[in-house]
């Protein structure tokens, strides 16, 4: 079980696409920094994966939550890291 940290915008970088290409259905995704622009992307709107977005990074950029993507804070971010076998950053 892996937590994937998406740290770049999917509109200018392949981080999200590369991650989704290899992701397992048991894995989770966390959108952070410019990765939160993924909320606006069709790749995230279609996904059935467990997905989170860092609330501070969303608010900073004027983004609001879409569909089933759960907003979390840094405390929950730390918890997620401790609950997964691996944490992989995509940038």
């Amino acid at each position: 079980m892996t937590l994937h940290l998406i740290q770049r915008s999917p509109f200018s970088n392949s981080a999200l696409k590369d991650c989704l290409n290899i992701i397992d259905s048991q894995d989770s995704i966390l959108l952070m920094e410019d990765g939160v622009y993924g909320l606006q992307h069709s790749l995230m709107q279609q996904t059935k994966l467990t997905a989170y977005a860092l609330q501070e990074d969303m608010t900073a950029r004027g983004l609001t939550s879409k569909n089933s993507i759960k907003e979390i804070d840094y405390c929950e971010f730390v918890n997620l890291c401790s609950q997964h076998q691996h944490v992989i950053s995509w940038y």
């Binding site: 392949s14 290899i22 992989i88």
Partner: protein
Amino acid sequence: MTHKILIIARSAPYGSSLAREGLDYVLTSAAYDQDICLLFLGDGIFQLLKGQQPKQINLKSQIGAMEILPLYDIEDLFVVEEDLIERNIDTKDLGMKVVSIKRAEVSQLINSQHKVLSF
């Protein structure tokens, strides 16, 4: 204890120093007797292309530096079939002996490791 460590190489060489700095970490880890395998994902594949001549742009060869990997007992170099096709690359175009796997097999590779790091 020896740990199984997977390094995911996602950066193309030269345009950024990440590919090089990632390889430096691979060589360090191998020197400390860890069980290292490498997965070249996405643009990371370009690190393996034959015929790189970066002298012309005043940089050190990435593929040249990778030739010493077998001396460090790093022999598991994985590439992803779909990434090769997407980039119009044949395994014959690669300067290292690689194992080609499918995208669907990558998570299994990740799950079989103690530690994973991506550059």
